[in-house]
Amino acid sequence: MIEYYQVFATILLFVVVLGLIKVFNGKEKIVQLLALQLLGTSTVAIILLLAQKLQLEGLRDLALIMGLLACIIAIAFVHYVNFNSENTLKK
């Protein structure tokens, strides 16, 4: 019997790896931020699939926290990092 939840989670993990390559290779910082957002969303999907497979209720709370933290990363980046210049903070 094939474990279909784990197969789907593995495919999503490949999506995460593709986004991670974009994070490391992206020329602009804002593109790297967008790839990080993609990573947050697909991580939530992976954790929910594994929560269904393992029947662990706590993993769903973990997915909720992951979604919130991805949102906070983007807010902090937009507030503090000037995307046009290289490695300088706005403040």
Binding site: Y4, F8, I11, L12, V15, L18, G19, K22, G26, K27, E28, I30, V31, L33, L34, A35, Q37, L38, T41, S42, V44, A45, L48, L49, Q52, E57, R60, A63, L64, G67, L68, A70, C71, A74, I75, V78, N82, F83, N84
Partner: protein, 99 residues
Amino acid sequence: MIINTLGWILITVGLVFFISGTIALIRFPDIYSRLHALTKADNLGLGFVIFGLALHSDSILVSIKLLLIWFLIMLASASISHLISLNALKNKMNLDEES
């Protein structure tokens, strides 16, 4: 049985949306079209996966919790896309800027 199969179909459709969103993020030329790919295709994929999992779950409370997680992530993603596009517009990023 039918509900189980429908759940698997929904999860598969969600995976297709995730993969297309990632390819769009890699292939699209500028920041605004990338935002469009990220915030629409990705959240739709997550929504399909969550609907499939809600059909698979045992109790109705777990299904409601999954739908609430999707709602929160959609809310956060929509506000973040507005923030990022406002920042890009303020910093005068061009439409055809090649990364």
